[in-house]
Every structure is written in structure tokens, then in C-alpha cells.
Symmetry: D3
Subunit: 249 residues, 6 copies
């Protein structure tokens, strides 16, 4: 769904997340799939999760800058494993504040990357206010980047589809799976990327189990005889905007 008059190039995916680890746990499969097809994936990481998602490091007595450096390093290795580029905004977490300046920086990223697909957090999460903050800015910047009257470098963008990835407590965050993405063929890559996040080892199995469960759900929604692998792994997404289709399937 690239723009008609854009220079022909590989498809582009833009992932906007609050913290350094989010893109791995929640969208690692989608990223690896896109990369495996030769597409470009850019991750806009608004903070390192240095205050809210690094409890272990704080308990070990590390300093703020040290923690940021660790998280950056982990995230860079995970992104490389998945086949994506990661850009850090260092906007400060807990709380991540919604500001016109940060939104404007995201407009620039949109215009620079010209995404065909956008991935971000859902708009609700009663357990972590940074996630909705990132989501709001991601959605607003997408609209602003479409307007020829909005100033700044780069070309305006089209209206790329948006997908919300799964929050930690889906039912408490109004999350309902609307798309089940089959990530079986890139599962090993996602697992390797997760293992780059050494500080959160307890989550490796947690998110492996989640992928199994979403895989079971995928099979249940696809029918028993679909010829799916015995162990299908999946990620769940929501669509805030309607799907554009040439065929019902």
C-alpha cells in the first residue's frame, strides 16, 4: 500500500513504543516477519524505561545513566536480532509526558520513514500511563504528518494502517484480539531477541507461553484442518482504523 508517487522501495514499518523492551515482547514477531521479507523496520523508542521498567538495576544500586546505557545496549542488540533499526528519544519515563515538542519529533520520523504500517501501544493501560502517552502521541503525529500545512522537513505521508500490540493485562486495558498474526516461522528469532533482555529473564517464558496461547486461539479461529503447524505461535493486534480490502478473507 505504498504511495503511488513515492519512490519505489521496500515497504516500511514504523514501531512507536514507550520503553526499550516493549517492541521485543509485544511486536517482535511482526518485526521479524517484516524484516524477513526484506522490508525496512524503524523503532522509535521514546524512553529507555530507565525508571519504570528497570527495578532490578535500581535494586542493584546502579545509577540513572548506567541504567540507560544498559537498556540502550540491550535494545540495540534485540533490534539487530530482529532485523530492525532503533532510534532513541530519551524523553524520560515514569511519567512520559505528552508534549507538542515530542509529538513534533515523531512527525519528523513519520515523514522520514514514510511508513506503510504503524505499530504502537493501545490507548488504555491502567497499569502504566507511559503506554497510553506514547500511543496518543503516535496517533496524533500520524495525523499531523499527513497535512501539507504542518511545517517541517520531508514529504507528507499517506494514511498507513495502525496496529495496537498486546498490553500486559489485555482484559484490563480494553484489548480484544482483532488480528492474530502467525509468527511461527520467525519464532526462534523472536526468542533470541527476548534473550537479549537479560534483566528481565522471568519474562522470556511468560511471553513464550503467551505466543502459544495466541497460537491456540489462531487455530481455533482458523478451523481445525487448516494445515497449520502443530505448535503455531502468534501475536495479537487491534486495528483502530478500518481495514482496506480488495477481497473478504
Amino acid at each position: 500500500m505504498t504511495q503511488a508517487n513515492a519512490p519505489a522501495g521496500p515497504r516500511s514499518t514504523l514501531v512507536i513504543t514507550a520503553h526499550a523492551g516493549d517492541f521485543v515482547w509485544r511486536a517482535g514477531g511482526a518485526i521479524a516477519l517484516a524484516a524477513s521479507r526484506g522490508e525496512k523496520v524503524t523503532i522509535a523508542c521514546l524512553t529507555f524505561g530507565e525508571r519504570g521498567e528497570s527495578a532490578k538495576a535500581w535494586r542493584e544500586g546502579r545509577k540513572l545513566d548506567e541504567i540507560k546505557a544498559i537498556r540502550r545496549d540491550e535494545a540495540e542488540r534485540a533490534a539487530a536480532t530482529l532485523g530492525a533499526e532503533v532510534r532513541f528519544f530519551d524523553a524520560g519515563d515514569y511519567p512520559l509526558l505528552v508534549t507538542p515538542e515530542l509529538t513534533d519529533r515523531l512527525v519528523e520520523v513519520y515523514r522520514d520513514t514514510q511508513p506503510d504500517v504503524v505499530l504502537t501501544h493501545p490507548v488504555e493501560d491502567p497499569y502504566n500511563g507511559d503506554h497510553p502517552a506514547a500511543s496518543r502521541m503516535a496517533l496524533e503525529a500520524r495525523v499531523l504528518a499527513q497535512a501539507i500545512g504542518y511545517p517541517g522537513p520531508g514529504e507528507i505521508i499517506g494514511a498507513p494502517p495502525v496496529f495496537f500490540f498486546e498490553p500486559h493485562q489485555p482484559e484490563m486495558s480494553g484489548f480484544k484480539p482483532e488480528v492474530l498474526l502467525d509468527i511461527t516461522e520467525v519464532w526462534d528469532t523472536k526468542r533470541k531477541a527476548m534473550e537479549c533482555l537479560a534483566a528481565q529473564q522471568h519474562l522470556w517464558d511468560y511471553y513464550t507461553d503467551l505466543a502459544v496461547r495466541r497460537g491456540v486461539q489462531l487455530k481455533r479461529n482458523a478451523g481445525p484442518n487448516l494445515g497449520l503447524a502443530h505448535r503455531t505461535m502468534a501475536e495479537a493486534y487491534m486495528r483502530p482504523y478500518p481495514q482496506i480490502a480488495k477481497e473478504l478473507a
Copy 2:
């Protein structure tokens, strides 16, 4: 998404509607698109709409059987125009009653047609109780037809995706477009099918305008530079079950 061990054949679409005209106004584009790709489309028409959707004929003093015959004839010509087969159940409308017997007849249709895609009414419609009744039976029969323990002829089915087509008053029926289907290339066929329904001439332009409006919405959600036809025509659908995907797009 045909079943792995089903005999290889063209894809099959099953449309389940309450009244004789519903499949034309609401899903004529999807039907014509599928037929144009060489697929099989079967319409299960539960009633002729003889009481609730034939005011003009009643005002002209026609009898019940006469009205049924007129509606049947119109629907058959419209289906032929679209490239589909229509089966009539003559279950009686206004009200269409939800019964185990009628649901069982739908199970047989499911097993007979082995659909890859199912189209029906949404579950809510405060203006016409026959539509939710048809929807409830369509959904229940789909589940029953999947169970090897449910008796009856034919093979069990998989879990084909379901699409709800647009009701007459979408906002009052909880209808939110989740899929916008581009029907521009078969628009002339849909218009011809609508014109088979002579008794409801006032709706020809109404549903043409609706297709234009959904087309504008499609373009707005797809971005301004998508290379779409100047006048894109569209139909809107909801998905009650998650989409199964190999790629986010």
C-alpha cells in the same frame, strides 16, 4: 483458507440473509467480486420478505403467494446477475422465528457448501427483528456444523471467517466499519442487480450514494495518494471473529 483435506475446488462463499433483497443492497459488491474471481457463491435466503419488505405489493392488493412469487423471481434474477446461486427457505417473515429446525437446515447448507467465507446480518437491528434472528441462526449453525458429534449428512466444516454487512441504520445498530471493501470494478454489476428489484426503485439511488460515501471513507483511510480511482465505490463490513493473518497490512 480452504481445508487442507477438502477436495481442491474454487473458494466458496455462503451468504445467509433474512429477506429476498438483502443480499443485493448490502453485499452485492462482495458477491460480484467473488464470482468475478471464479468462486462459488451460495445465498441462503430464509424468507421472501413477503410481509415486512413488500409494502408496495400489499398496497396494490396482491395476495401472499403472488408476492412471494414476485420476490422470488426478482431475487433469482439479481443473483444470476451477480453470478450466485440462491436457495429459498420460505420460513416466514415478520417475524422470522429462531427455531432448532431452521438452524438445523442451515447446518446442512454449511456442510454442503463448505464455505471459506460467511456473510450475514449483524446481531443488532432495532428496526427489524428478522435481521438479528437470521444472524443468530447463521452464527449458531456455523458452530454446530463444525462438530463431528452433530448429526446429519456431509463433512464437518472448518472455522470460516464471518463478515456482517451493513444494516440500514448503522449507528443505531452498533455497526462500525471494520473492513471497507473496494467494489469499484464490479459496481456496474451491482447496480444492474439492484435494478432487478423493481418494487424498490427508490433504493437504487440510496444504495448508490451509500457506496460513494463508503468509497470516500475508504480513500480517507487509505491515504490520498493510493492511486485509487477518482470515484471509488465501497461496501462496509464488521468482523465478529479475529482476522487470521500472515502479514500486517
Copy 3:
């Protein structure tokens, strides 16, 4: 909003309720107001509430027929006090069953009374299944009565607005006040009608307090300087269908 070609006559209100007391507690003010303007009000009372709403009589050892007779007598006196006619269907309560036959009898009432306004229960009530049952049949019969093809005596009706009156536990029944009706001027009449229901004396003050509270809410939503009586009494209603207006007010 009488029909253009209907014989000119007073406006007609139709109230459809599950049990004998419902119209008094929940809509007594609206009924008295309409009657005070010289309009016709007909109450279709589907059951006497003989099993589910007559605990006191059962504890006193009364028999079924005796209880029905008591409830009928009370309801007739309350209706007369309000200025309305009540028709009993004796369909059996706890549970009140949704049937095509009872719905058909309601179609006849619609066509006979040609209502300009319809009042009934909301569609949800987790504390009493008879209320949703009555509501479903009231709504379905209204649609059937509009269809020239639906058989039976009388003229078809238009599309009179429907109002849901307030259930016993509004927040648990999805009830949100959409219309606050000022019943101050007929309050004494409503109180007298409530006092006809001797068996439920504990509810007299309960529903008086409710009218005060809805009156406070009315004043809060109308502004402090509206020139309202110091003690405004009100009833709350929902509208399942859009209001038709000549002016925003």
C-alpha cells in the same frame, strides 16, 4: 405526531408493562400528565405480578386467583386515579414468556390504540427477567404493527417514539437518564395512585424520594435560575430511537 390521514382525535399513549404495579411506580407521572392534557392513555398489563411481585399476599396464605383479583383491583383503581384505561393480558409471570401469540395480541393493541407515544421497560434487568421479556415484545410488536403485510384487524401504525422508564436498580440495568420529565404539577395524583397499591406500602416513600432526586437532577441540568418550583419532582426516561425535532432545545 399523529398520522396525517388518521382521524383527528386526542393524542394516544400506550404503556406496556410486565406487572400490575409497574406503570404506577415508574410512569405514573407521565401518564397523569398526558391525561391532564386530555389525552388518551392505555395500559397493556401483561401479567398481574401474581407470583413475582406479591410476596406479602403469599406469606398471608392467599391463593393464586385471590392474589390476581387483588392486584387487578389495585391496578384498576390506580389507573383510574391517573386517568388511564388498563387492559389485562393475564399471560402468567415469573417467568413471563416471550411468545409469538402474546406478541400478536400486542400488535392488535397497537393498531387499535394508534399510539403517538409508547412507554415500556428497558431491555435489560438482571433482577427480573419479566421486564426485558415485556420490553422485547413491546418493541417487536411495534415494528410488526407498522407492516401492511402483517395480518390482523385495524390500520397500520406510524413509528411512534418509545420511552423506557426507570428500572428498580438503574445502574445495574444499563439505564442512563436521557429525558427528565417534570411531573411536579401532577405529583399529588401520582402519590394517590401509589397509595392504591396497599400491599407495597414500603415503596410509597421510596418512589417519592426517587422523584425528589430526579427533580434535583432536572434542576442541575436545567440551570439554577430556571424559575423551577423549590421542590421539583421528576421521572427519568431513555429513548431507544432518535428524537425527531423541529428545533434544538
Copy 4:
């Protein structure tokens, strides 16, 4: 519903919108109707829509100030056609920011115009964040303007009813028609006002079709025999606060 101790005068309507064209497309009928009854209508236009709603002008290479001047001129002519006064706030669009200062300026407008009716955008619009921003400030300023303790010139206001007008993609913005306003008699005026907006000619027919469709819906909800014009034109509104009524109708 004027305040008891306000100087007797014509009724006053206040319309608060994000961009220069909004009041024409979405509420032009309601404005023309009020003006035709001799009432006062004031439009508070927070921005000119210079960045987000002026793509054509930007593509033609015009400058910011030039674009603002064009939009101002168009809006003034449209307002004059409808019979209303328009006040510009020039607060900057795309994004329109929610600030205490702008909200305070709206409080002054409320106290100055003493509205009997308020019209504004709905609180949700995933396609344009300026609309919810305008709506939030309109609602908050209305509450502040009621408080005697809130400082500033003018008298406090009552609690005028609020109506949300229809957004561009109603189903995606949680918009459900709760009031259908018959604008048939002022339709020509609304069309003339739309034609003042030369830069958006493609919308003239779009909003004409919408008025037809809402008119069909009005007739369907009012009954077939209401004596309505063959071609009824309508606008749809929501009510965020309960209606205060003296009669159910």
C-alpha cells in the same frame, strides 16, 4: 429556557468549533433555523483551519497569513448567509492545544452571550485531534461559566443544553444520532452557505447527500404518514446531557 432574571431578549445559541468551515457543514441547518426564528447565533471559531483543513491552498503555494485571510473571509460570508455572527480566536490549528487561557476566553464568551443552546464537536474523533480539543474546552468552559466563584466579567450562566454535531466519520467517532433535526425549510440557505466555501467544492455534494440520508432516517423514525415533504433534509445531533421535558414526545 432563558434565565428567570436575565433581561428578556431573543434566544441565544453559541456554536464552538475548531476550524473555519465546521459550523457550515455540520450545523448550518440548525444555525439557519434559529436565525430564521429571529434568534441570535454566535459562532466561536477557535482556528481558521489554516494548516489542517486548507490543503488546496498550500498546494497552490499560498502563505500562512494569506490562507488565514481566505478562510476568514469565506467563514464570514457563510455566517452572514446563515444569519449568524462569527468570532475568531486564531488559536492555531494542527494541533489545537487545550490550554487554561483559551478555556478562559471561552468562559467570557459564554458569559457574554448567555446561550440557551450550545453546539460543538463530539468528544471523540480519531481522524482529527482538533475536534476533541475544541469539544473539551467548550464543555469545561460551560461548567466554569456557571460558577459564581470563577472570576471574570459578565453574569454567570445557567445550564444550557449541549448538542454535538456530526463528525466526518460518525461510526468511527462513537457518534449515534440522538436528535434528527428537520432542516428542510432552510435547506437552500445552508446550501448557499456551503457554496461560500469555494476551496472545498467537493464537499458541497457530499454534505447534500448526507442531509438527504439523515432526512430518510428522520422519516423512517417518524413513521411513513407524518405528512413530511417528499424530500426531507436533516442534520443529526447527540445530547451529552439529559433532555429536560414537560411532555414525552
Copy 5:
């Protein structure tokens, strides 16, 4: 919350389910906990799940009666393991029909067991219509059993709290965890009961993983320092009626 004038006895829990296995997967922990406290637990099992939940047996070519016997045997052993009594209604599954007769039989069970707590399916499940059917009858029978006027043997009941247990696809069934029950201390018993269901071995690990995930959620909602076991196991429930409390905790 036993009734004041009921004969003093152990607390009583009533579990109403559609199929033979439901009480094990979904509420086995709650049942084992109650039994471990010396309370009485009665399971009303409306069908054996002979058609819809026994695919493996049908594929092995077994007959209907044989399958029922297998499922009954498995369920009885699982119930005994948990410490509960199970009563079979053999009402026929796929579809389980909502009937006044079956509802009436449930009223008798309510009056016979005088439950202090009721467990059943949620009211929505788009994947299996038998679950909502069981839920509707369980809720309606509870209300009927409270009415002194409803005929039948036994004493009327109070208003025991109701808990909905977790469906297979929670997000698709409107299920949101409102109570997280710590079942760590009876986990081994639940696992043993699951292992009685030999035909569904693939679910043993699935529901073990679910209990781990709900346990993680319990810990997240209880705070990190609550002194909980390293591996807390939990079940999730919803409350359709308000909790009655003497203390906020």
C-alpha cells in the same frame, strides 16, 4: 452469608455448567478450596458435552450412549477428586436449548441446595452457544427460586452472590477479571482432577499455564511484597451483581 433462619450447616456452593468438563477447567480451584474448608459443593451439569466437546471419541467411532457414559464417569471422578457432588441433567448439548422445563428443574436444585455462592458461565461466548444458554437459565432460576409465589418443593432462597468463571477466549466473550482467586494451596488437587479427563489431555498444560498467568496477574495487582508464594496459581471470575461488604479491602 447463610440465611439467618436457615438451619445452621456448612456453607453451600452451587456450580451450574453446560458440559461435563467445564467445572474442572474453569472452577476446579474454587471448588477444591470450598471443599477443603469443609463446605458443600454441588455441581449441576446440564449435559455431558456428548456432541460438542467429545470430538476425539466421535473420531474413534464411539456411539452416543457410550460417549455419555465415558464423560459421566470422568466427571464423577473429577468431582470426587475436588470434593464435590455432581448431578447430571442429560438435557442434550449442541445445542443446549433454553426451556422453561429445564429452568424449573434448576429452581428445584437452588431450593434444595440453598447455595451461599453460585458459579456459572458468563452470558456471552461467540464460540459455544451452550455456555450462554446455561448461564441464562442459571441466572433466571436463581431469581425464580427467590419468589415465594413460584411453585415447587423446598424453601425459597436468599440472593447468593454469583461468579462467572473464565471462558476459553476471554477477550472475545467480554470477560474481564474482577476477582482473582488464589488457588495455590489446592493446585495439586485441581491438576489431579484435570487428569481425570483423559480424553482432553492437551488441555492439562493449557489450563496449568492459564493458572500461572492469572497468578502473575494476581501478584501484579496485589503488590510485589505481599508474601505470596513464588509460584502463585489463580483463577479469574466476574461478578454480575455488586459485592456486599463490611469493609473495603
Copy 6:
């Protein structure tokens, strides 16, 4: 649910409110109950309600500081009557602004008081924007106070349960009673505390009636034979997070 490694002490309740009177009308019973059990209750009062909730004083011509002093005095006496400590933030009302600084001050209160239970406003209130503002900051500060990486004095907190108390217009604020708290035994104390608020005498009876109505609802949800006092008084609450339970009851 105190933290395992916290110094053993009485349980602690934290109440966060927008205005000086809120804790009395809406949570006075819960506060008095906790105090009567020897627990510590701290009220964080963000503003005095000097502009928005002091109409009477403004009409009497009092000055801002005078009004603040009156409200402070009343609130202190009411808190003392209930057995709680009140802390004033004087952040300015109408509008109460959401700021990182005020949120940070709340984080300090959380860490200082180490609450086992938190009470605050619901997140929606279309009649008073200060209430949602207070709620948002209360919820966000609770999450920040849990993070070891968030700077500031004091120990991090666990995840204490949150309860929303009842707003003035519950149905318009999305409020549904999820917990009905029996406050009969401390009712006299709550009434005395209400009577400390001399400026709002008209609310004394209003909130007494509300307590009666919620008491009737409590009895209806608890069953007729629960041995409850003839006149049970209650307060209603919502739970935004799941309840953690050792037993279903």
C-alpha cells in the same frame, strides 16, 4: 494486605479528593468504619473547593481567602468527627489542573502513608472536571510510587486496591455500584460529619436519602433473610482493579 516487610502497624487508608467536602458526602462511612477499627485514615484534599463548591459564600460577598479558611475549618472538623487526618494541598480549583508537580506531591503522600486501601473519585464526571483531574493524578501517582526508580523520599509502596466513590450523578458518570458497603453502625458519625459542613445544609438530607437507597439495594442484593437491620445504610463503590481473594463470597 500490608506489605510483608513493612513495619507492623495499623492498616492505612488514603483518600484523595478534589474539594474540601467530597470525602464527607461520598466516603464518610468508609472512613468512619476504618477509624472505628483503629485504622489510620489520611485525606489528601487537593483544593478547598473555594471557587466551584462555595456558591453560597460568594453570594454573601466573601473574599477568596475567607472562603478558603471557612472550608478548611469545616473540613477539619468533619475529618476529626470521622476520626481521620486531613492534609490540604491548596492547588486551586475550577479548574484543578493535572500537573507533574502536583502528581509528584501525591507520590510523596503515598510513600509516606503506605496505604493498604485507596479511595478517590471516578475517572468520569461531565458535571465537574476537577473530579476526573483528581482521579487521574491519584491513579498515576499510585503507579509512580510503586517504582523504585522514581525519585523521592520514602519507601516504595505495594499495589493497594483502589475504590471509586459515588459521584453526584452516577448514571451520567459511568458509575455502576460494584461494592455496597454497609455503614449502618457508623451512620450517626457520618451524619454528624455532614453537619459540620454548614454551608451545604441542603445536602444533609440528600445524602441521607442516598444512604437509605443504597441500603435498600444492599439488602436486595444480599437476600431478604440476611439478618440485616431494618434500616440498613450503605455507600456504593467501584473497583478499577480486580479484587484479590482467598475465597469467593
